[in-house]
Point group: C2
Chain length 425, copies 2
Amino acid sequence: MLKERIDAETALKLFLPHVKPVTRCEEVPLSEAVNRVLARDIIASRDIPPFDRAAMDGYAVRAEDTFGASPENPIILEVVGEVEIGEKPGVEAGRGKAVRVATGAMMPEGSNAVVMIEYTSRVGNSVEIYKAVTPGENVSLKGEDVKAGEVVLRKRTVLQPQDIGMLAALGTTSVSVYSKPVVAVMSTGNELVEPGTEPEIGKTVDSNRFSLMAALKELGCEVVDIGICRDNEEELERTVKTALKKADMVIASGATSVGKKDVLPAVVEKMGEIIVHGVAIKPGMPTALAIADGKPVIMLPGFPVATLIAFYRFVPRILEHMMGFETIRRKWETVKAIAGRRIPSGSGMRTFTRVILRESKDGYVAEPVRTSGSGILSSLVKAHGFVIVPEEKEGVEEGEKVEVLLIRPLTRCLNAQNIQESRLN
Amino acid sequence: MLKERIDAETALKLFLPHVKPVTRCEEVPLSEAVNRVLARDIIASRDIPPFDRAAMDGYAVRAEDTFGASPENPIILEVVGEVEIGEKPGVEAGRGKAVRVATGAMMPEGSNAVVMIEYTSRVGNSVEIYKAVTPGENVSLKGEDVKAGEVVLRKRTVLQPQDIGMLAALGTTSVSVYSKPVVAVMSTGNELVEPGTEPEIGKTVDSNRFSLMAALKELGCEVVDIGICRDNEEELERTVKTALKKADMVIASGATSVGKKDVLPAVVEKMGEIIVHGVAIKPGMPTALAIADGKPVIMLPGFPVATLIAFYRFVPRILEHMMGFETIRRKWETVKAIAGRRIPSGSGMRTFTRVILRESKDGYVAEPVRTSGSGILSSLVKAHGFVIVPEEKEGVEEGEKVEVLLIRPLTRCLNAQNIQESRLN
């Protein structure tokens, strides 16, 4: 019954097309949403920023009024008031007028630029302007970060902290995510007893179930503990049936190798189809992958090291498939890429440039996210990672090799038919 | 008041010695223990396995009785019974006797080796033995995996799934871990409002608090939401004091840059000491790190991208320091090493060899864990990672370069005085 051993990658290629996605959704508060998988596209309900605001401390003016200003020939404007952050402007900046503004303050009606405080001098109710500004200069425009109606986050994104921030900025307090896959875990073996009891002679404490439940929890699953099942055909059949009713996937350890009579695969074969039985990994060889009731039933060998090695070789991939994406690289790993454009940096500063990765025939290309500053939250939501330019380096030239530190896992969406859409998430 | 900008690494070097470890402990059930930090050494209370057991299917015998056996000259032994897995042997294997055993079954009294079933032939109540065995052959000896009294897991280990399995195998149902660091998060700014309300003109929805709380949760902290505080000296002072009472660390965003009047650092300076103010990272420059009431107070810039970049540059390191270790490499990353001994592999099988890393002047050396098989759970608990030998390769020679896939983060313990013990965990 132990079929021909195949390598693990071939085994997954045979098995994954049988794995159906979990489509149950639930609404969770933002405080619970990190690392959950988004169940629908998020469309911005409003502009961010919601109004034009000052990007610098200084004076809000009509840019036209400052044309020609220089230290030698300052232009003098009348100061008609002040706008603090968070307050609705009580004044207008008409022709020849200036309004004192703080960074982040709403721009008063009539103004279209901010003269930085450094290029001004206050004299009573007037201000001397030493430098001309162009329309829009030192202003964060309404909708510059996010425009109402824009798709901000795509379905099947694994939500990162920056995404949670974006959801908050859009006024959201809860979000629709796919339910965590529910995984039932059982151990099989007549010799097994629960920890916490002094085992009788000849018995062994079950450890696999606890390793597996911990690993599944770490991978973001909900776990159902099915307990220990004896190596007995009727009891195994009854237990696997119960487990299948309670969960999206069943994982059993023990009872798969020839030595232990292979009773579990025989039982599962009656309920469904064994797709893989025996893989060329050591330890882990007697692993079997089956589908019963339309759900994966993963049979792992009983020896604890073999159990965990086989688990990590197969189960994370199967779980991702159940969630409709596959991870190419994990968060905080680095990938090598080519700079798609010049990446400027702050002189003497370690500069963190947000980049989007795209795939090309020569590997990844890192494109800096266009942004007007560090207030632009969408730059982090769009970015796959950072190119970190060290203090001593003056930017990165187009075509130069760079390392990108990923700030979200690099994933590729699968559609419901398991055919790659091949879109990096 | 914005002191000279220093690079982030120097900032941490100045700041970390002021950070005190969290020494509160709590007992958690095994099901909650993954990724928690062990608060004391775990000493094995029993041997694993708890008795000599058969490592193969076959016949338990006295090795001496088989000497000289060959296919041409089989030795005939009397079969006096059978031992199933999980049962106490009802028979002894005296001189000239054999007992049928299954893999994992307890060895009967008198026997000291197992002849594999393949080298035997049953004839009624007798068995023909075609191959001699040496004492101990095909037997897992009592205590081979773990010996009673042995230190199995060290204090400050970040518990991995395999460690949870080991704790279960030792009969444990709960474990003493350090309490999660409690971190209070507040946003400051007169312009800020909570998500879920339609903001008045001029106001901005607070997003930083939600990004930061999500990031902290992901890093394993308990989070206290302090809410939004206005840019007002008395209110800030009151709020920071409340936050310090509730938490081990306070993180505030906004109100640190010159543009926003720098009121928060001024307030915190009255309560403690500002160690760092201004770092050479872009974005993230106005970050300030202080100690008040003996606890870290981290002041991050208000612009959301700068907030998160500064957060990730400093806070994970500070949190680790609070837990008494530092991470050198994360789980599932690979490190390059030199094979310290020859690493054998299964022919035609992708072989996962458990290795321990040690530091040498030439970098990491990977030493295979000595183990008699995949039943040895302690091999995974001791191992830092796997050397994966591909199907087509026949082992790895001593001195060869290898890549090690880490199965636990590579950490180094700090003692309470923040002086490196320099022990890889």
